[in-house]
């Protein structure tokens, strides 16, 4: 079982790597839009999450409101990953 703190640390680490920032500069409540992650960075981060947790994230870059996976903030990504892990 993967706990919430571990998922949050992984999400922050993965986002930080894409943003070329130290993980300490990505706050646990940060919004992705404010971090300035571009579209390729986003799909690379999702790939990294899938590889890390062996999940499949239902994300399509053409759907602005992302009905299946809320990628808007660190907490929403953590919650989404938790849900996907629980479903496997």
């Amino acid at each position: 079982m993967t706990d919430r703190a571990e998922i949050e640390a992984a999400v922050i680490e993965i986002l930080a790597r894409q943003l070329l920032l130290p993980p300490g500069e990505v706050a646990p409540e940060a919004r992705v839009e404010d971090l300035g992650l571009d579209s390729l960075g986003k799909v690379e981060a999702i790939f990294a999450l899938e590889e890390r947790f062996d999940i499949s994230v239902p994300f399509n870059a053409n759907e602005p409101d992302q009905p299946d996976f809320d990628f808007s903030s660190v907490p929403s990504i953590v919650a989404g990953v938790e849900r996907l892990i629980a479903a496997t």
Binding site: D38, S39, V43, I46, F47, F59, N60, A61, N62, E63
Partner: protein, 397 residues
């Protein structure tokens, strides 16, 4: 400067294996998008495409089958149709050439040989892997089969490959390097590895392709080939050839910006360059076959580019990709053929799957049903990953 005309067209694509069948599908507004049927498709997240079904390799001899990847087979069948329509019989000689676009070349051959050595533990692959998979295979086999001994090469610029090929072929004839050029593109990327690669970018639609429509979910890949016979007008007239349309202009630009995100400014410059090259004013254009991939970003960006070039009321626009799929390096050739239909038959092929106008795509979209319209000139847009833009201008003959 020599004018260049189109005297023959040929295609195989998911809608039909010839031009009459493809035109019928354009007139009826049919889509070829459906479930994928190739090996391991069940392991994909995205399981739809515009696949050529029931392809009969038996039209080629066993030794040809060993030598021709699908990308070559499609080009040869399309090329034969185009040459028959043009009334040309080989050997075409040193004043004839071939320029074909492809993005992935013989990707199925790569896949099969890698599967053999990596997945199946084999220690050898068939001896013809290299001549099957090379990007110039399709162009070379067209040259060999029809005895075209002039300028022959392949062009690879992702989704703009076929438009670049057609534009470069136009320039060969204008420059006096050839009298006849077979040009267009071929693509056979619908295989497990090909679609897996696209999945990673998260831009594929899980069901339909709905260009410029509210609720669009992305692109759908298609397979196919389109080959056009381009000919110096004096050469065509001298032999009494049928003239289908004039390939009047070509414009190419680079965004020199992002590797995937489109830039409306680069696209607009390419359209203006094609118009200037053709000696056309924007008001003379009666139809634009859009790049219109059905992704959120492309369609929004292309709308901005069209409005920059044509002002508040651009001419009617459609994306035929919703019917034949995005045939990547071949798509520009399929779409040039759609423009020939618009010019010759006075019927604009539709954008099928259109549900509702998107305020971000304020265009006169030919939605769902083909529209009668007398067209004097048409543009065909192609905007590739890599920021490469290639636009063709066609004029009614």
């Amino acid at each position: 400067m020599r004018r260049v005309v189109i005297t023959g067209i040929g295609t195989v694509n998911a809608l039909a294996l010839d031009v009459p069948g493809t035109f019928a599908a354009f007139r009826d507004g049919r889509t070829a998008i459906g479930p994928l049927g190739f090996r391991d498709a069940e392991r994909l997240t995205i399981r739809v495409g515009a696949e050529i079904r029931d392809w009969d390799e038996g039209r080629f001899t066993p030794s040809e089958q060993a030598l021709y990847d699908r990308v070559t087979q499609y080009a040869l069948v399309a090329g034969a149709e185009a040459l028959a329509m043009a009334g040309l019989v080989g050997p075409l000689g040193p004043r004839a050439g071939v320029i074909l676009g492809t993005a992935a070349g013989g990707i199925r051959t790569w896949e099969d040989s890698y599967r053999a050595v990596f997945a199946e533990g084999k220690n050898r692959v068939p001896p013809l892997v290299v001549p099957r998979l090379m990007h110039n295979a399709a162009a070379s086999h067209l040259s060999i089969r029809h005895g075209a001994g002039g300028p022959v090469l392949s062009v690879s610029s992702a989704c703009a490959s076929a438009n670049h090929a057609l534009g470069l072929a136009l320039q060969q004839i204008r420059a006096g390097a050839a009298d006849v050029m077979l040009a267009g593109g071929s693509e056979a990327m619908l295989c497990f590895g090909g679609v897996k690669a696209w999945e990673g970018l998260r831009v594929l639609s899980p069901d339909m392709c709905r260009p410029f429509s509210l609720g669009r979910k992305g692109m759908v890949i298609g397979d196919g080939a389109g080959v056009l016979v381009l000919e110096a007008e004096d050469h065509a007239r001298a032999r009494g050839a049928p003239v289908l349309a004039e390939l009047a202009g070509f414009g190419m630009t680079a965004d020199a910006g992002d590797i995937v995100a489109p830039d409306p400014e680069g696209a607009a410059r390419a359209m203006r360059a094609a118009l200037a090259d053709a000696g056309l004013g924007p008001q003379e254009v009666g139809y634009v076959n859009a790049h219109g991939t059905g992704t959120l970003l492309n369609d929004r960006s292309e709308t901005r580019a069209l409005r920059a070039v044509f002002g508040e009321a651009p001419p009617p626009v459609s994306s035929t990709k919703a019917m034949h799929g995005h045939a990547i390096g071949a798509t520009g050739a399929l779409e040039a053929i759609a423009c020939v239909m618009a010019l010759r038959e006075g019927l604009l092929p539709p954008t099928v799957g259109f549900q509702a106008p998107d305020p971000d795509c304020a265009l006169d979209v030919v939605a769902n049903v083909a529209r009668p319209a007398r067209v004097e000139a048409a543009l065909s847009n192609a905007f590739a990953f890599g920021g490469l833009n290639a636009v063709l201008a066609l004029r009614r003959a």
